[in-house]
C-alpha cells in the first residue's frame, strides 16, 4: 500500500480497505474514514462502474479484487545549454508503474498522449515483461510546458463507463532550458477495475 496502489494479486485485506474507501472518485461524493459501511455500499453502488455489472447494481468488496490506481512517473530532461542557442534537445519520459495497471487476458495496456490528439498505445504481454512497453520517450523538445495524458487500456475499453477526462491522468510538466531534470509523480484519482 505504501506505493500508492492496491496490490494486484491476492484478496483485498482489511488493511487495504481504508485505502479503497479513501479513494477519490472525482465525483461530488467522497468516501471518508468515518463513513459507515452502509454509506460505502451506497457510494460504490452509485459511483463505481464495474465492467460486468449493470450500472446501479450492488458492488461487493470482492469486486475490488485486482483493482488498482493508475500511477506513473514523468521525467523531464532539460534542453542543453549552449553558447548560442537552444538545441531543442529536451525530452519527456513518461513511465507507468507496472503493478498499478491491471492485467486482462495476459496483457497490460498503456496509453500515452503528449500535447495533441495522437494517442500512443503500448501493450505488454505479461509472459514477456518489457519495461519499454510502459514508457514513452519524446526527444528533441523545446523548453516550455507540455500536457501529458496517461490512461490504462481497461477503463478506455469499458462501454459502461463515461469517457470522462477524469478517467485519465492529466499532468502539465515543464521542460526547462539549462535547468534541472524534473520528476513528477502522477496518479489517477479513480480505481481501475478488472
Amino acid at each position: 500500500m505504501s506505493n500508492g496502489y492496491v496490490n494486484v494479486s491476492g484478496e483485498i485485506k482489511s488493511s487495504c480497505i481504508s485505502c479503497v474507501r479513501g479513494t477519490n472518485y472525482g465525483q461530488t461524493c467522497k468516501t471518508t474514514s468515518t463513513m459507515s459501511v452502509n454509506d460505502s455500499k451506497n457510494f460504490y453502488t452509485t459511483k463505481a462502474s464495474m465492467p460486468n455489472k449493470p450500472s446501479g447494481s450492488e458492488t461487493s468488496l470482492t469486486d475490488f479484487y485486482c483493482s488498482s490506481v493508475t500511477t506513473a512517473y514523468i521525467k523531464t530532461i532539460s534542453e542543453t545549454w549552449s553558447t548560442y542557442c537552444n538545441n531543442n534537445d529536451g525530452s519527456i519520459c513518461a513511465s507507468f508503474v507496472c503493478d498499478s495497471i491491471v492485467t486482462k487476458n495476459g496483457v497490460k495496456v498503456y496509453n500515452f498522449n503528449l500535447n495533441g490528439s495522437t494517442w500512443v498505445e503500448k501493450v505488454e504481454n505479461t509472459s514477456v515483461p518489457n519495461a519499454a512497453c510502459r514508457t514513452l520517450l519524446r526527444t528533441g523538445l523545446n523548453s516550455g510546458t507540455y500536457t501529458v495524458q496517461l490512461q490504462d487500456g481497461l477503463t478506455s475499453s469499458n462501454p459502461q463507463r463515461p469517457r470522462a477526462s477524469l478517467d485519465r491522468i492529466c499532468k502539465t510538466v515543464t521542460v526547462g532550458y539549462n535547468d534541472n531534470t524534473r520528476v513528477y509523480v502522477a496518479q489517477r484519482d479513480q480505481l481501475g477495475l478488472l
Binding site: N88, E121, T135
Partner: protein, 284 residues
C-alpha cells in the same frame, strides 16, 4: 452492450475502421508504418491475403497503406499502436474507436491521417532529392534510418539531411568517432563545391551582361579568384582536422551564409546536434 474481450479484438476492430500507426524497432531503430484493415482503403485486388478478422495467436496482420502490401508482426515483440486525430474529431480515447459506428467520424479521421501520410511521403521525397544533390553515393540503408528518425521526431529535417549526406552511421554518432574522416572531408568538399559553382555561375552570368563596363567585369573576375582561393584554403585546412565539428567550421566565409543543414543560424553544427539527440535516444 458489447464488451471488448481481448486487446487483439480491439486492435482488429479499430484497424478495420481506421488507419493506425505501428511503431516498432528494428536493430534499435524506430520504424513507423501506417496500416489498416479497412477494406475500402485496402481496395480490390489487394485483399487476396485477406487477414481481416482472421487473427492468429502469434502475429498481428495489417495492410501497409504506404507500401501497399500485407505486413505481419509478432505479438510477442514490443510494438506501439498510434491512433491519430482523435480529439480533433471529438473522440476522447482509443477505446471509443472500438464502439464508434458513425462513418462520417471514421472518414474524417482517415482523411486527416491520409493527409498526414502524404505530408510524410512528400518530406521523404524532398529529403532524398536533397541528399542526391550533394552526395550521389549516399547509403540507402542509412537514408532509411534517418528518414525514420525524422518521422519519429528524433531528428529534424536538416539533421536527417546532414546525416544522410555524410553517411554517418548510428554507431559513429554513439561513439562520437567518424571512422573514415577522409571520406567525411571529401563529402564536405562536394558540398562546398556545389555552392562555389553556384556563386561562380552567378558572377559569370553577370560578367556576360552588357550593362557592365570593363573595370566592373575585372572586379567580378577578381571576386571569382577570391572565391576559388578561399575554397582552396578551406580544403587545405580540412586536411589536418579529425573532429567533424572542426571540419565543418572550415566552410569558406566568402560563400556564407552556410547551408542550414550544416550549421543553423545560431552557429550550432548539425553533427553535434544530431550526435546529442541520437546519444540521448539510445540512453533510454
Amino acid at each position: 452492450m458489447h464488451q471488448i474481450k481481448s486487446y487483439s479484438e480491439k486492435i482488429n476492430v479499430v484497424a478495420s475502421k481506421c488507419i493506425i500507426g505501428l511503431e516498432y524497432e528494428e536493430s534499435n531503430i524506430p520504424i513507423l508504418k501506417f496500416v489498416t484493415l479497412n477494406p475500402s482503403i485496402i481496395g480490390d485486388g489487394l485483399s487476396e491475403c485477406n487477414y481481416i478478422y482472421n487473427h492468429d495467436d502469434e502475429y498481428h496482420h495489417f495492410f501497409d497503406v504506404v507500401e501497399k502490401k500485407w505486413f505481419k508482426y509478432s505479438e510477442k515483440n514490443h510494438i506501439s499502436f498510434i491512433y491519430y486525430n482523435l480529439e480533433a474529431n471529438n473522440v476522447s480515447c482509443t477505446g471509443d474507436l472500438f464502439f464508434i459506428d458513425d462513418n462520417s467520424i471514421i472518414d474524417n479521421i482517415n482523411k486527416d491521417t491520409i493527409k498526414m501520410i502524404d505530408d510524410n511521403t512528400r518530406q521523404i521525397k524532398e529529403l532524398l532529392s536533397n541528399v542526391i544533390k550533394y552526395n550521389k553515393q549516399y547509403d540507402g540503408k542509412l537514408f532509411n534510418i534517418y528518414s525514420q528518425l525524422m518521422l519519429s521526431g528524433t531528428l529534424t529535417y536538416d539533421e536527417a539531411l546532414f546525416s544522410s549526406i555524410f553517411n554517418i552511421t548510428i554507431d559513429e554518432y554513439r561513439s562520437d568517432k567518424i571512422q573514415n574522416v577522409p571520406n567525411f572531408i571529401e563529402i564536405f568538399k562536394n558540398v562546398i563545391k556545389f555552392y562555389e559553382d553556384k556563386a561562380v555561375y552567378t558572377i559569370e552570368s553577370e560578367i556576360q551582361s552588357d550593362s557592365l563596363d570593363d573595370d566592373e567585369k575585372e572586379e567580378l573576375k577578381l571576386i571569382i579568384d577570391m572565391i576559388n582561393e578561399s575554397v582552396a584554403q578551406s580544403y587545405d585546412k580540412c586536411k589536418n582536422l579529425t573532429e567533424p565539428w572542426e571540419i565543418l567550421e572550415e566552410y569558406p566565409t566568402i560563400l556564407y551564409p552556410i547551408p542550414i543543414f550544416i550549421e543553423d543560424e545560431r552557429g550550432n553544427d548539425s553533427y553535434t546536434k544530431s550526435k546529442i539527440k541520437i546519444q540521448n535516444f539510445f540512453k533510454k
